[in-house]
Amino acid sequence: MLEISQLTKRYGQDDPVLTGLDLTVEGNSVVAIVGASGAGKSTMLRCINRLVEPTSGSIKLNGHELVGLKGAELRRARRRIGMVFQGFNLIDRLSVMENVLAGRLGYVSLFQAVTRRYPQADIERAFQLMERVDIAHYANKRADELSGGERQRVGVVRALMQEPEVLLADEPTASLDPRTSEQIMMLLQSLASELSLPVLINIHNVSQAKTYTERIVGLRHGKMIFDGRPADFTSDALDAIYGGIEAAQDEPPAPPAATRKHEAPHEPF
């Protein structure tokens, strides 16, 4: 169970990106988080695994507080949180298998990581998961030789290698063509029930959100303004979240990539 309460995040002295957000996700539910660019979807997911440092509030995963963890404790907490990225974020020059096994980096020793001598159980799990998503035959191919959909499946398997207790997906289908993105959504949906894993998906495609998830959360200006079943997600809700077409101007611009990128440097990884 993931419990977010009173989560606030502001970058520098700017207006907060998230203000007092409360969200609880239980069991193996698949939750879609929708909202315009800059509404705080990405920031919220990144606060959970602390790629972004929350300004205040609390995030508990199965009872363990995540905010304020440091060093080894933070790394131990992170390995229980899988993440799938919009740009896949695979290590292009490494093989598919190495990318998949990288999901175990929170568990293995540095020597095992450097020499690629992963425990037998990890290798077995890697093959099983790769077979589940149909990429096992690519094990020794370089990650950048795969197509977009295949790469995202590697990304999903890497996250699942962590044996996560929650899976975060930050616009996992935004870089994919419509057909492939449906496949990835279907995959995330079925994996959630197979592994009884709660999944949070940031998504722009509202119709996919309605089809493949059982709960939709709408953010606007860092506040939750919709939380309900896809059936209740009416066009009024859509207008409230994205603003009417004429109101599109009032969205604050997304934080520039550069500031996000350099948010981290002070804390070493």
């Binding site: 790394r75 992170r78 990225f85 974020n89 020059r93 980096l105 540095l110 990128k261 070493p268």
Partner: protein, 266 residues
């Protein structure tokens, strides 16, 4: 609006918009050139006397004398050893300094230290460094190795640090998100991204060290440079010319090889 009687023209806007500044800079440059040539002590008489002397040196150099092959060979092998050892040492040491000097992965105090090391090792030409090392550890190849190692750390370290600062941060985030520690993140997310550049730089540095090892030898840091200096000192211009020809040949060959390797790698 009547277009037909005034044809519209276009000219490229001047690089410096302000005409006063534009012509001012030109005038200052011209004045400086005239002043510099007028005041520098060119002694035309001595230059005129020197011309026949240089003609004599060139004349004495032909035909180049390859009879002392063993001396030539010993010098070259030493230069090669200096260059290869210094490249290996320098490249290996440049990696930690490059990591220290990359703003995106090093904390500020470490970054400043890393940058300082790189700036210091880049601020002097190898010849000056070689003079210092010859004074410190004496004549011979050790001074050459130390000089070129420092030179390699500065050059490779700087370019590698810049490469690290431009890596795709998403890959780093993905590895961190899996719970990997600092070193595991370096090895998985950073090194694969800078590897081709690292290999290319090492090849280039070997090439460059080979060239520089001949130069630092002139101030006593061993290798073919020392042999060359001795030959000039003894007015063995024909032998000196033989050495110069071989240096050119070796540099050509090494440039060819390193270019070929780098092209294959990319």
């Amino acid at each position: 609006m009547n277009r037909s009687d005034t044809p519209r023209t276009w000219r490229k806007p001047p690089f410096i918009a302000n005409p006063l500044l534009r012509y001012g800079i030109l005038a200052v440059t011209a004045t400086y050139l005239v002043w510099a040539f007028a005041t520098l002590p060119f002694n035309w008489q001595r230059i005129a006397e020197g011309l026949p002397r240089s003609a004599r040196i060139f004349g004495g150099g032909f035909p180049p004398n390859f009879s002392r092959v063993d001396l030539l060979l010993t010098g070259f092998i030493e230069s090669l050893q200096i260059a290869i050892l210094a490249t290996l040492l320098g490249v290996a040491l440049s990696i930690p300094f490059a990591i220290m000097a990359a703003r995106n992965i090093a904390p500020l105090p470490v970054y400043l230290l890393g940058r300082a090391v790189i700036i210091v090792s880049r601020s002097f030409h190898p010849v000056i460094v070689a003079i210092l090392f010859v004074a410190a550890v004496g004549f011979g190849p050790l001074a050459g190795i130390l000089t070129l190692t420092l030179y390699s750390i500065g050059f490779v370290g700087k370019l590698l640090a810049e490469e690290i600062e431009e890596i795709d941060w998403g890959q780093v985030e993905a590895i961190r998100a899996a719970g990997a520690g600092y070193l595991a993140t370096l090895i998985y997310a950073v090194f694969p991204q800078i590897l081709p550049r690292q290999v290319g730089l090492s090849m280039y540095q070997l090439d460059s060290n080979l060239r520089a090892s001949a130069v630092v030898g002139i101030v006593g840091a061993g290798g073919i440079g020392s042999t060359l200096m001795n030959a000039f000192g003894r007015y063995d211009y024909d032998f000196a010319f033989a050495i110069l020809l071989v240096i050119i040949a070796v540099i050509l060959v090494s440039e060819g090889i390193s270019g070929w390797v780098r092209k294959r790698l990319w």
